[in-house]
């Protein structure tokens, strides 16, 4: 299905931001979650379709060790999160991929597991990467406790008191996942086998469902441990405090290359978001109900910005700018829209581009989508990608035409002088140690000969130079036969010709590269909030904070 031909608002195209503006690292590194984010589309679906949730197995002992099953029943299929709870010594607690044990481990099962399935999973899931799962499983993940908040909440609940809201606010989650694997990893079902199911066709839906059910597990286990410790005097979490808790996530450099390795997918995510913004800007007038919903969303965003903390200098500065921007925005819309103003959303957007920081502009984008679900939610269906359909090269194009297209789409790359050391200072590689992706210093460390092909700008540069030596009427097929080393980049360049938002338009090996910018963009598409860098390549975030729990969707379905 061709989304473009189905577009109900073709006039919006004139309002779309160009890739040269959108696909820059600093702007991608200011991305905010929107209503098109993947966890939001999951929550819309389970609500619209009336999914039901319960917990058929809860076999956890007084030390918090054992297993549990959470069941999510949709209109056609049922999925179950199988959770294993462990007693982890503090010295083994690490969020790095090199860890070997965790506080809890999980898998999302396709259907309902029987006792044999659970035993098979118990022998493998706690081992994570060192175990094997099967095509009956859709994800593999693990989580570590926030040691301080986890202990505080149990202590308070056991004593019959609620946790200190300031403590809850400061951390925001009881446990944080440190990896959520899907798409055929470690033996799990291939994406191709499940992509035709409506509930899993949008990106990362199995992973999002797994994390949402994990959030339920994190509050269930603290209430269980508090009840064990406090007996009759223990109380359950106050619903308002409970809602403040999300699931944390701790992520390293391994996530950063994803967007570079999936150009068609990146394009489709960006295109959907940009089309959504363009549709809102294309509105001739602002409906009163939309204005009210926008004001409510702004109030919520302002409160979120107040609670959003980071100790990283870059993020501290960005948060200061965001808070200032949201105040400016509140002033700007005090008497907005002006009577008879044409295209008020577009005027507001243009004001934002002139007055706000990148953080503020991208926050404004999210806010403008918020009241317009009827206009934009359908774009969720356009965010998946058939990457295989774009794998084959068109060998018939002439060297002259291909070179001209390259010069047009990669002008930003061809302008970089890679002879300057700071333009090629870094290199991406995979460490032999646990095959962890890392970023090295080219002129200080060994290993640059084993560089991963993430240095796209330089590859484009090299391809363009090599093409100059060829007659213009030669075919690309003939060129690639002589130059197999350019095949990788030639494929990308042909993809970009059909997918304008497929490429990050910055030098990914420059001295000043910030991998967290790539991570923030991807995490915003997941729906992550409270982006909190712990270095230039390591972040913590929160998922589902302030949103309902599975148990809220099925009152009475819980033990």
């Amino acid at each position: 299905m061709d989304c473009a031909s189905l577009n109900p608002i073709p006039e919006a195209a004139a309002f779309r931001r160009p890739p040269s503006q959108v696909m820059r690292l600093d702007r991608m590194g200011s991305a905010h979650p929107t209503r098109l984010s993947f966890l939001r589309s999951l929550l819309r679906r389970v609500s619209d379709e009336g999914w039901t949730f319960d917990r058929p197995v809860w076999d956890i002992d007084g030390r918090g060790v054992g297993r549990a099953v959470y069941r999510a029943a949709g209109p056609v299929r049922t999925y179950c999160l199988v959770a294993f709870a462990h007693d982890l010594p503090a010295e083994m607690r690490s969020d790095r991929v090199i860890a070997t044990a965790w506080d809890a481990t999980f898998t999302l099962f396709d259907g309902e597991p029987d006792a044999d399935d659970l035993d098979r999973l118990q022998a493998n899931v706690p081992l994570q990467e060192a175990g094997r799962i099967s095509a009956r499983e859709l994800s593999l993940s693990r989580a570590n406790r926030s040691v301080r908040l986890f202990a505080h909440v149990i202590e308070r609940l056991a004593a019959g008191m609620q946790p200190d809201p300031a403590e809850v606010e400061a951390v925001g989650y009881l446990m944080r996942t440190t990896a959520v694997y899907g798409s055929g990893k470690f033996g799990a079902a291939d994406r191709a086998n499940i992509a035709d199911r409506p509930e899993l066709s949008a990106p990362f839906q199995a992973e999002m469902l797994s994390v949402w059910l994990t959030r339920q597990f994190t509050v269930d286990i603290v209430e269980h441990l508090a009840a064990t410790r406090g007996g009759a005097s223990a109380v359950r979490l106050d619903p308002a405090i409970r809602r403040m808790l999300g699931v944390g996530n701790s992520t390293g450099l391994g996530m950063a290359p994803f967007l570079v390795r999936h150009p068609v997918l990146l394009n489709n995510w960006m295109m959907a978001r940009e089309e959504a913004l363009a549709r809102v800007r294309a509105q001739h007038a602002a409906r009163p109900d939309a204005v009210a919903a926008f004001q409510a969303a702004l109030a919520e965003a302002t409160e979120n910005a107040r609670q959003w903390h980071s100790t990283h200098p870059i993020q501290i500065a960005k948060l200061d700018a965001l808070r200032r921007d949201l105040t400016c925005l509140a002033d700007r819309i005090a008497n907005w829209p002006e009577p008879q103003s044409n295209h008020p959303w577009d005027r507001l957007w243009r004001w934002g581009e002139a007055e706000l920081s990148l953080e503020g502009q991208e926050a404004l984008l999210a806010l403008m989508l918020e009241p317009h679900g009827d206009l934009v939610d359908g774009l969720s269906d356009c965010m998946t990608a058939d990457e295989k359909a774009w794998f084959r090269l068109d060998g018939t194009i002439t060297v002259a035409d291909f070179s001209a297209s390259l010069a047009q789409h990669y002008d930003w790359a061809l302008a970089i002088d890679f002879d300057q050391p700071d333009k090629a200072a870094r290199f991406w590689y995979v460490s032999e140690e646990k095959l962890e992706p890392r970023l090295g210093n080219r002129f200080e460390e060994d290993g640059a000969s084993l560089e991963q092909p993430l240095c796209i700008a330089r590859l484009a540069h090299e391809l363009h130079t090599a093409l100059k030596d060829w007659p213009g009427d030669a075919s690309l097929a003939a060129f690639l036969l002589a130059h197999p080393e350019h095949r990788f980049m030639a494929r990308r360049a042909q993809i970009l010709g059909h997918h304008p938002y497929a490429e990050v338009r910055d030098n990914l090996i420059a001295a000043e590269i910030l991998p967290i910018d790539l991570m923030r963009c991807k995490l915003a598409f997941f729906g992550a909030s409270r982006f909190d860098p712990r270095s230039d390549k390591w972040v913590r975030i929160s998922l589902f904070q302030g949103m309902p729990y599975p148990s809220d969707m099925t009152p009475g379905g819980w033990a």
Binding site: V97, E129, G131, A135, R148, Y181, F186, L435, R487, R491
Partner: protein, 244 residues
């Protein structure tokens, strides 16, 4: 931990789902795992990144039809290890994709080149069959020939002295694929196919990979990795601890 110890521990790649199996065991890999492992192994064996992508595609395509793509790719990579590109890439002339002198083509190089030329005159099958080869590990050609058939919306037939495989316009294969998998090298003809009788398509579950295939592919894949150093280890994680 030394590199050797680390290797024995069978490391894992969280982003590309490689090297996924505990040591010494046969395993059933997902199609995604096969593709990524074979891509890395091909790169480790010296292919360019773009051709290594083709190798991963080909091995996974075959595995999805129950054929031993990973095992035969390993055989090919071992065979071609250290041989220069101009010895294993085809010479392209109208009607003919041949090896130089007495050489033998790499099926990944030949297949990719055929796909690139699919709509060019050199690959025309209007008047006569295309002559291909000699090519080693010829089973690995099928994914590429299927892509050509799909792109041209035309069923094709690969014939060699001991068998034939039909590649349909809708991406299916039928015929002597298993026999083709047993051939170590051959010269073949590719021609347009007029479906006379319905053939049973070749299908199958993802094959079980024996431990020696996994080990061989993992060893090649590890050639793409950089030995750990204190500097690299130090920069990879959070600045603070995780017990907060």
């Amino acid at each position: 931990m030394s590199a050797a110890q680390d290797h024995e521990a069978e490391p894992n790649d969280p982003t590309r789902s490689g090297s996924p199996v505990p040591g010494g065991k046969d395993a059933c890999l997902s199609q995604n795992e096969i593709e990524q492992l074979c891509l890395k192994a091909a790169r480790g064996a010296g292919m360019s990144w773009g051709l290594a992508e083709e190798a991963g595609f080909a091995a996974a395509w075959l595995a999805a039809r129950g054929l031993d793509g990973p095992g035969i790719l390993l055989a090919q990579l071992t065979l071609a290890d250290g041989r220069p590109w101009d010895e294993i890439c085809p010479l392209v002339a109208p009607g003919r994709f041949a090896a130089e002198d007495s050489g033998c083509l790499c099926p990944i190089a030949l297949g990719s080149t055929l796909c690139d030329h699919a709509a060019l005159p050199q690959a025309s099958m209007e008047n006569a069959p295309l002559r291909l080869g000699p090519v080693s590990c010829p089973l690995l050609l099928l994914p590429f020939l299927s892509a050509v058939a799909t792109a041209r919306r035309q069923s094709l037939c690969l014939r060699w002295p001991r068998g034939m495989v039909v590649l349909t316009a809708d991406g299916q294969i039928a015929g002597d694929a298993t026999r083709l998998g047993a051939e170590t090298s051959l010269t073949a003809e590719l021609e347009r196919h007029k479906p006379a009788t319905e053939r049973v398509p070749v299908t199958g579950d993802l094959p079980f990979l024996p431990s020696e295939t996994l080990r061989g592919l993992n060893d090649l894949a590890l050639r793409t990795t950089v030995p750990a150093s204190e500097a690299s280890r130090a920069g990879a994680g959070a600045v603070t601890g995780d017990n907060d």
